[in-house]
């Protein structure tokens, strides 16, 4: 990759930015180790870094942890997939038909701001607390992220290109593929990246609050298992954080790959 040679503000120090980032992380870990030890934070409720990683090591040998991790990833990926496919399909159709767009705009603006967590009581009663319950929350929250971005993308199509396509009597399928899609793609990719994070948040929230099997629920059992299990709670927080970081890196990489032709991405490369 060209990242290492990319100029950045850290160049002045002579230390590569990536290493500097890791140093910062290590500093944070040391801080969390020291603060409970010297009594600034109550160690019983805020364990040291070593205690948290000790709990994490215990989890590594516990099949319950790996099952929960698998369940979380499954709910997350399925929810995200449904939201992305539905968001893109609905966005392209609504965006391409001005009448539909005008008809749905107010409804979308009404439904979109509803926080997914506000639907929890409804979901428990209607769908239950299994995976499908959390899936409803995940899909609801991440669908809007994709849809709104795709709608903006479709609206951004160059009028000259659109009129040219019309003048050549291109069909709906062709127009979507050669005119709408290239313009909307960068927006859609942004929407997908946002949806990835939102879907993970809602997956853990659903597990934690309605009891869908997964990391969130494992965290809840640890939370209810007495003060000795407090480091386990923090260990799962660390794991969910790691998943978030990996997901963000993956979507960034996918973005660079899919949009390699796009000026915004090309500009990132050193000239």
């Amino acid at each position: 990759m060209t990242n290492a040679t990319r100029p950045g503000p850290a160049r002045r120090t002579g230390i590569p930015p990536r290493l500097l980032g890791l140093l910062g992380l290590a500093g944070f870990a040391v801080l969390i180790e020291i603060l409970p030890r010297v009594g600034v934070l109550p160690a019983r409720y805020f364990p040291t870094t070593t205690a948290i990683f000790g709990a994490l090591a215990d989890y590594a040998g516990d099949s319950r942890f790996w099952t929960a991790l698998g369940q979380t990833l499954r709910t997350w990926v399925i929810g995200l997939t449904i939201a992305v496919l539905a968001g893109v399909a609905v966005g392209v159709v609504i965006g391409a038909v001005p009448v539909l767009r005008a008809l749905t705009a107010s409804t979308i603006e009404f439904l979109r701001p509803i926080p997914s967590v506000a639907l929890i009581p409804l979901v428990v009663v209607l769908v239950g607390s299994g995976m499908s319950g959390t899936l409803v929350l995940v899909v609801y929250a991440s669908f809007w992220q994709v849809l709104v971005q795709v709608l903006h993308g479709v609206a951004d199509v160059d009028p000259v290109a659109r009129d040219t396509a019309r003048a050549y009597h291109l069909g709906f399928g062709y127009r979507v593929r050669y005119v709408v899609w290239p313009t909307a793609l960068p927006y859609a990719v942004t929407g997908i990246r946002l949806a990835t994070a939102v879907a993970l948040i809602l997956t853990i929230t659903g597990e934690l609050t309605i009891g869908t099997p997964g990391l969130g629920k494992l965290m809840d059992t640890a939370y209810n298992s007495g003060l000795e299990a407090v480091p386990s709670v923090y260990a799962i927080v660390v794991v969910t954080g790691l998943i978030g970081v990996l997901a963000n890196n993956a979507t960034r990489a996918a973005e660079r790959y899919v949009l390699a032709w796009h000026p915004a991405v090309r500009a990132e490369l050193p000239a």
Partner: protein, 318 residues
């Protein structure tokens, strides 16, 4: 262009295809000769050890039940799942069930859950104070007491304990906190007393904090929780309900006579460490329902304004 379009979509489709193959499957009535697939909703706490033990010991299998235990945060999440038929049976505290009965929720109790140890000095749930100046429950007048839920079994018990000690329960200020958060709040001085259950009670005692009242002070046989089902299932499959009751009764008797097995099984569904499991006080697991104790809680619920009139306890219990 085409390739860029297709690659991510194809990858996503592939992932979803391979993943959706393993979704939740609904339990169905078993064909003759096979075990019934049954889901029971419980809370992953000490109180439900007998049902885990019964499953582990093959007691449910013996009664032709393939039991799956689903855990929820509280009875409020379990009742709707049982009423809607997602789960066939559920575990809930007695006051929540009485509240449900007073609102005509179509449920019925099928088996006992757990009871007070009957030992006022050593029970699985009690009032803990940090201030050495507080030595009796009536001193809680004007104090801030943490309860896991308002208008439920814990605050009702505290009020009854205060009243029995000669205090005025209406002068106690309650505040809602989750059991795991209570010790920290007491330590920080944000509340004056907490009502905690195991494993938090033994950990609070280990800090040298004083226990000034327990479930046993309300009633030595206080029935804390019960197992229930929907009236719909009783009408549709009375044989299954009877087998569940039989298996549960047997599991309770086994648990009550095998405390070491109970402590061991706790390690399978909670994350309570072994040292804590060994030291905590277990509830009693009588195999029969103490109707007088349930009636007493129903009376207390009316006294303290949880419900306007006494619910039909006879209709709720089997």
């Amino acid at each position: 262009m085409n390739r860029r379009f297709a690659a991510p979509i194809a990858a996503i489709l592939l992932a979803s295809l391979s993943l959706t193959a393993c979704g939740d499957d609904e339990p169905t009535t078993a064909p003759p000769g096979q075990n019934d697939q049954v889901k029971a909703g419980v809370i992953a706490i000490v109180d439900v050890a007998p049902i885990y033990l019964g499953k582990q010991q093959g007691i449910f299998a013996k009664h032709k039940i393939d039991l799956t235990l689903e855990t929820a945060q509280g009875g409020s999440a379990i009742v709707p799942n049982v009423v809607s038929g997602q789960w066939q049976f559920g575990f809930s505290n007695v006051v929540s069930l009485l509240l449900a009965q007073s609102r005509n929720v179509p449920i019925k109790v099928v088996a006992n859950g757990n009871n007070s140890t009957g030992d006022t000095k050593n029970d699985f749930g009690g009032i803990v104070v940090k201030d050495p100046g507080i030595t009796s429950p009536k001193q809680l007048e004007g104090k801030k007491v943490a309860t896991n839920a308002l208008k439920n079994i814990v605050d009702t018990s505290v009020k009854d304990i205060v009243k029995k000690d000669g205090g005025d329960p209406s002068k106690v200020n309650f505040t809602e906190l989750a059991f795991p958060d209570m010790s920290a709040q007491l330590e920080a001085g944000n509340v004056d007393a907490i009502f905690v259950v195991e494993p938090f009670l033994s950990q609070a005692k280990a800090k040298g904090w004083r226990v000034i009242g327990t479930y046993a002070d309300v009633d030595p046989n206080l029935c804390v929780a019960l197992y229930f089902t929907s009236k719909e299932l009783i009408g549709k499959n009375p044989d299954l309900v009877k087998r569940f009751t039989d298996a549960m009764t047997e599991s309770l008797a086994y648990a009550d006579s095998h405390p070491d097995d109970v402590r061991a099984v706790l390690g399978t569904y909670t994350q309570i460490t072994e040292a804590v499991r060994k030291g905590l006080t277990l509830p009693k697991f009588p195999s029969t329902i103490n109707k007088d104790a349930v009636n007493k809680l129903a009376d207390l619920s009316v006294t303290y304004g949880l419900m306007p009139s006494k619910p039909d306890v006879g209709a709720l219990l089997p």
